[in-house]
């Protein structure tokens, strides 16, 4: 194992190496990444995340051309990170050695807004590749990564269908961009997709683990959605009152003040004190309705959350996770855009990035995170050993 520092920070191990480039020209940026990943000979998988400042289709094509031995999978971002360095306007990439995985299959899902059978079709192709039903794949032997168009509002059903088909755990995030109304893109083996997702089924050679962490604590305040438009992620009423009014009452503030509390007091669907799924408000609509970055179900009680320090909480959770899963050789993080923004506002970006300094890591700012379901204001991570 060796570590070298140049203009661009590079970490490398036997099996995994990360690199980034912030060169303005996409061809030059991909060239720099190729050079800086060259210690991994004939990589089997390249995972990469691309700032929306780059032409998406060209970045995807060039990355596939640069690594002909590898399956290349990625998406666009709302910010990027490599171990020790938070970035914008860059491409970050991880090369996985040819022996890192016993098998890899990446399947693009197209037309996800209309085609509700797309997950089933993708799994059929994965089954053909692995010669076994996904329903019988061992979740301790296989893992999945999922990237989904962050503008599609399809994350809930894709995660739901994944769980219907298999017990293999899929972790991932929603492709993002720097413009709330901009297109997000998914990259699979040189092709570029929108209105799409990718499932990557992996059989790692040396084990793996997951971490889901959110720097928010539960309060005793509850809100029950009593009238919703689930597919459009709109809540008309909480507790039989206009949503914004009930939400503001729960926080003991006026509805006008509510937007200032979206990230400090989001809501969660709670399973137990350790397992909850954050739902971030997006805006107040007409008649006091509210839309969210995540759908909520009518009648399912939600708990008001209170923001905690992201760096301190993530450090604690990482230390615990690394205690339980010794010596991860690489980390892929899917970190909510709103967490990235908050880190920036509190001038904690580099402190956060430093948490990952000892392990080759790539990350991107997401429009939502995937782990069992779709959620917000969370970091989901994949640890590869």
């Amino acid at each position: 194992m060796s570590c070298q520092t140049s203009k661009d920070l590079i970490f490398q191990t036997m099996s995994y190496q990360t690199a980034y480039s912030d060169r303005a020209d996409v061809r030059s940026a991909v060239g720099e990444i190729k050079t800086n990943l060259s210690n991994i000979v004939d990589p089997s998988l390249i995972v990469y995340f691309v700032s929306p400042v780059y032409p998406a289709a060209e970045a995807s094509r060039l990355m596939a051309e640069a690594f002909p031995s590898a399956q290349t999978v990625g998406c666009t971002t709302a910010g990027e990170m490599v171990a020790g360095k938070m970035l914008t306007k860059s491409i970050v990439a991880m090369a996985c050695g040819k022996n890192s995985f016993r098998s890899i299959k990446a399947e693009a899902l197209e037309n996800i807004r209309e085609d509700k059978q797309t997950v089933v079709k993708a799994f059929k192709n994965i089954e053909d590749y692995f010669h076994m039903p996904v329903s019988s794949m061992s979740p301790s032997r296989y893992l999945g990564m999922v990237l989904i168009d962050g503008q599609s509002k399809c994350e809930e059903y894709i995660n739901d269908q994944i769980g219907n088909q298999t017990n293999v755990t899929f972790v991932g995030g929603s492709a993002a961009t720097d413009n709330p109304n901009g297109e997000t893109y998914i990259f699979v083996n040189g092709k570029t997709y929108t209105d799409a997702a990718v499932l990557v089924l992996l059989e790692p050679s040396n084990g793996f683990a997951f971490l889901k962490t959110q720097s928010l604590s539960l309060t005793d305040k509850k809100l029950t959605p009593t009238r919703v438009d689930e597919s459009n992620r709109i809540v008309y009423e909480f507790n039989n009152k206009p949503a914004a009014q009930a939400y503001a009452q729960a926080l003991n503030i006026s509805a006008d003040e509510l937007p200032k509390h979206y990230t400090t007091n989001p809501l969660a669907l709670v399973f137990d004190s350790k397992n909850y799924f954050v739902r971030d408000p997006h805006s107040i609509l007409e008649n006091g309705a509210m839309d969210f970055f995540c759908s909520v179900k009518e009648g399912m009680e939600l708990t008001v959350l209170q923001a905690q320090d992201i760096v301190a909480n993530t450090r604690k959770d990482l230390e615990q996770a690394w205690l339980n899963n010794r010596d991860p050789k690489a980390v892929i993080e899917f970190n909510c855009m709103s967490r990235m923004i908050e880190l920036g506002e509190k001038n904690q970006k580099q402190e956060y990035a430093a948490l990952f300094k000892s392990v080759p890591t790539i990350a991107f700012g997401t429009f939502g995170e995937s782990y069992i379901g779709h959620m917000n204001q969370t970091s989901t991570m994949l640890f590869l050993k």
Binding site: S140, N159, G163, N164, N167, F271, N275, G299, M300, G373
Partner: protein, 73 residues
């Protein structure tokens, strides 16, 4: 044990295929589908035909055959 809890327990066990850790994940997956899993398991939710139907639909989505439960019982 009420009927709803029986159905839910059966779905969780069958889908988990004997993996205890998976049982927790499956409970959370079912919660994400809009079912008060904890409430049912703690018997705080009374039997309800609509809820039973919802669980039967989830069993179908998970490819769990509830006829096997009838056979066991």
């Amino acid at each position: 044990m009420n009927t709803t809890k029986q159905i839910l327990n059966f779905i969780i066990k069958e889908k988990a295929q004997g993996n205890t850790f998976q049982e927790l994940n499956i409970q959370m997956r079912i919660m994400m589908k809009g079912v008060n899993v904890k409430g049912i398991l703690e018997e705080k939710v009374p039997d309800d035909p609509a809820l039973s139907e919802k669980l039967k639909a989830i069993a179908q989505e998970f490819d769990v055959d509830l006829k096997k439960m009838a056979a066991i019982n």
